[in-house]
């Protein structure tokens, strides 16, 4: 049972799950091509407005084109994580609950949250990571510098915090599935809000900015890593982001545990 497990065992379990997803993904190569192509166009749709805007002036809300591209790069990266790793697994939970097959997950001798979070990965979404890399290269080229170790490390930490927060928010959304059945809309709503993370946080004003910093921390997700990569993120802010991420993980874990305690099968 979960308590008696070793990290080693979970690492092996993770490897098995990833391999299963990979094999499944390899069956649909045409999908891969189409997905990759559409993904590329979606990225274009995120960049094109910036191109149009920065044609008429050098900076917007304190961001130059190269700097704003860093945010778009992280946005593309996180979108890949969201759609490749977070969304598919969590929508599977909803399906399990609806059909009552969640019993089989609970019966397995491993942590249920770990199992459902790693069950369904879409390896093709890794194309987003490549696209993001290209955007960073372009941005650094425009800014006329190259990345150094310090900022890269800070950005890695900030991105880890961002992924943790993203994952926690999604877990919270899915925990709602134990109380009300139709949450796919909720998940969809979240994705719609996430679209706003494509711009630097200082584009937003007033209440909206407050919400995007503290309630749905979009600023933490893309703007902080971008600033870290640019070397302009204060260490204190980074530490706060990490603390916030750890906090949100703890909260989502607690809510998840409370939620599955309420689970009362559904036939199946």
């Amino acid at each position: 049972m979960p308590g008696a497990s070793t990290p080693w065992r979970y690492a092996r379990l993770l490897r098995t799950q990833v391999r299963a997803s990979l094999l499944q993904g390899l069956q649909y190569r045409v999908d891969f091509m189409l997905d990759g192509l559409t993904g590329l166009f979606w990225t274009t749709s995120a960049i094109l407005p910036l191109v149009v805007v920065f044609r008429s002036r050098p900076t917007i809300a304190g961001w130059s084109f190269g700097e704003a591209l860093m945010v778009t790069g992280w946005f593309t990266f996180l979108e890949g994580v969201l759609e490749g790793a977070v969304n598919p697994s969590l929508s599977e939970v909803v399906e399990h609950i609806r059909k009552g097959t969640f019993d089989f997950v609970l019966l397995k001798p491993a942590d249920a949250q770990f199992l459902v979070s790693t069950a369904r990965l879409q390896p093709w979404r890794a194309t987003n990571v490549v696209t993001a890399g290209a955007i960073f290269a372009w941005a650094f080229h425009l800014l006329g510098r190259s990345p150094t170790v310090g900022p890269l490390a800070a950005a890695a930490v900030a991105m880890t915090a961002a992924v943790a927060v993203l994952y926690s928010l999604k877990t919270l959304a899915v925990s709602a599935a134990f109380f009300v059945v139709r949450v796919d809309n909720l998940a969809h709503l979240f994705d719609a809000v996430f679209d706003a993370a494509r711009w630097p946080a200082s584009i937003f004003r007033g209440t909206v900015r407050f919400i995007f910093t503290f309630v749905i921390p979009l600023a933490l997700m893309t703007t902080y890593p971008a600033r870290a990569l640019l070397g302009t993120l204060p260490l204190g802010t980074l530490a706060l982001a990490v603390a916030g991420a750890a906090g949100s993980l703890a909260v989502s874990r607690a809510v998840w545990t409370a939620a599955i305690a309420r689970y009362t099968s559904a036939g199946g």
């Binding site: 045409v30 999908d31 189409l34 997905d35 192509l37 559409t38 166009f41 979606w42 274009t44 749709s45 094109l48 407005p49 149009v52 805007v53 044609r55 008429s56 002036r57 917007i60 809300a61 139709r182 809309n185 909720l186 969809h188 709503l189 994705d191 719609a192 809000v193 679209d195 706003a196 494509r198 711009w199 584009i203 937003f204 004003r205 909206v208």
Partner: protein, 267 residues
């Protein structure tokens, strides 16, 4: 499947569609809320315009433009392709084919019947938004509002026909859902949904004005915000309805060709 049968069944089809829309009103409301893209774009453009206007757009113009975008998208959106793809995949289309009404008309009726509900859900949001920003970004010409109504109908029809065509595409290819993904990307970029058409670089703009995407969102929005005079608006309306006519033709062809390939699995 005579036209007379369809005409007789149409009121009933509308009633069914309406009841269906009412049953899923909460879902529809969430879909409305999830249409955040115009607002996300508004945040960017209004920050830009606050520093200095861009083209003919100041902050107020951008606000009017993207609120209008939100409304037009609500009124003209359609997801029929999804139902149709599903019906072709699992064979339930066979049941629709048995009915004495052409399935495409039935799908059209369902989409049309959801309109009152869409109005009811999105109109309050539009009214509140307009009240907050003031009505000054909007045209005051009644003739243009007439053109607007026609343009929204045209845009609704184009969107519906594209949906039906992509639905028909599932007779031919497996990944017709991906086809919609691809169409949506172009729709987002080229329709004026995220960037007003007149802010496009000139070369791209010339191309965009000939493509159907612009008539799905940009054109009604431009009419609503008073970007065109009467003459220009009417000329564009003609262009839009040419696309509608082309869409009718292409949909009919795809349906006829596709149906021959259709074999109901299971059902």
């Amino acid at each position: 499947m005579s036209l007379r049968n369809t005409a007789r069944a149409f009121p009933t089809l509308l009633r069914i569609g309406f009841v269906d829309a009412v049953a899923y009103r909460a879902e529809m409301f969430i879909w409305v809320l999830a249409t955040t893209m115009p607002l996300v774009m508004l945040a960017l453009w209004s920050t830009v315009a606050r520093e200095a206007p861009i083209g003919r757009y100041g902050e107020a113009q951008f606000t009017a433009y993207f609120l209008a975008t939100f409304v037009v998208r609500q009124l003209t959106g359609s997801w029929v392709f999804y139902d149709m793809n599903f019906a072709v995949r699992n064979g339930t289309l066979a049941m629709r084919l048995l009915r004495p009404v052409h399935p495409l008309w039935a799908y059209g009726a369902e989409a049309l019947a959801a309109m009152p509900m869409r109005f009811a859900v999105s109109l309050p949001i539009a009214v509140v938004a307009m009240a907050v920003v003031g009505a000054h970004g909007m045209t005051h010409d009644p003739v243009l509002w007439g053109v607007w109504v026609a343009s929204v109908i045209g845009s609704w029809l184009i969107t519906l026909l594209v949906n039906l065509m992509i639905g028909c595409a599932s007779f031919y290819i497996e990944s017709s859902l991906k086809l919609m993904d691809a169409w949506l990307v172009f729709f987002f970029i080229l329709s004026g949904y995220i960037i007003p058409i007149d802010l496009f670089p000139p070369t791209l703009r010339a191309l965009v004005e000939w493509l159907p995407f612009r008539f799905q969102i940009g054109f009604p929005v431009e009419v609503m915000t008073g970007a065109h005079g009467r003459g220009a608006a009417l000329a564009l309306l003609g262009g839009q309805w040419l696309w509608v006519a082309a869409g009718f033709g292409a949909t009919a062809l795809m349906w006829r060709g596709g149906l021959r390939r259709f074999a109901a699995y299971g059902g």
